[in-house]
């Protein structure tokens, strides 16, 4: 079981801040494909991966990173702090 979080416009496009996933995707990319297949609003949120960043268990990661045992994955646009 894994929590998937969305922030900023990713959250707005998906329509809610969090999903709980029961499947066990092996990599971030597999998780993205699972999400895309759900509904058009997910496809809209994940249509351009170059515009997205991902964190696994609150650490920045790559889309080809493995998810073995991850409890929380977050998707968001490039950060604009400061």
């Amino acid at each position: 079981m894994m929590d998937v979080l969305y922030f900023a416009w990713v959250r707005e496009r998906v329509g809610h801040p969090k999903d709980r996933i029961e499947t066990n995707p092996a990599t971030v990319m597999e998780l993205v494909e699972d999400l895309r297949a759900r509904e058009p609003r997910y496809e809209a949120a994940f249509s351009d991966l170059a515009a997205l960043r991902v964190a696994i268990d609150q650490e920045l990661a790559d889309f080809d990173a493995p998810l073995n045992g991850a409890r929380e994955v977050a998707f968001f646009p490039p950060m604009t702090g400061g």
């Binding site: 416009w9 977050a74 950060m79 604009t80």
Partner: protein, 147 residues
């Protein structure tokens, strides 16, 4: 190390004085403050700052720890706000102390460059016409390459 993520406003003078007073044997204190900048047309009604509560504190601490490894610093402080802010309000501040000013200046710049694009904050500009997410700038990403 003093890292704070908060919605409340902070008092720059008070924080700077308190930080400086905590130092011992340091010859330099550098501070930087980020302020909500109005749009050119004076149309910004608010800046909404979203963050990733579980990750923000850790990300800021990791950036500050790296600064302490790279430069000879006495101390580092970061305050970063979230929530709904208005033009001319202070968003964030960093402070560094060092025996010599070059370390304090460079570490403060390093902190700012990494805070911009590696700390999980997202800004949204609200105007009469609606609200728009602020896009990350290539120049901010490029700024990381110099370190």
């Amino acid at each position: 190390m003093d890292i704070r993520v908060q919605d409340a406003a902070f008092d720059l003078g008070l924080e700077t004085n308190a930080f400086a007073a905590r130092q011992s044997g340091m010859g330099a204190v550098v501070t930087f403050t980020g302020i909500v900048r109005d749009l050119d047309k004076g149309a910004l009604s608010a800046m909404e700052i979203e963050h990733y509560p579980g990750m923000t504190q850790k990300a800021l601490e990791a950036i500050a720890t790296e600064a302490r490894e790279r430069w000879n610093l006495g101390d580092v402080m970061v305050i970063h706000r979230y929530g709904r802010l208005h033009p001319d309000e202070m968003i964030m501040m960093v402070a560094t102390s060092a025996r010599h000013r070059a370390d304090a200046f460079q570490a403060a710049e390093f902190l700012m460059d990494f805070l911009k694009s590696r700390a999980p904050f997202w800004k949204k500009e609200v105007t009469q016409e609606g609200a728009e997410w602020v896009a990350a700038k290539d120049v901010d990403e490029d700024a990381l390459k110099r370190w």
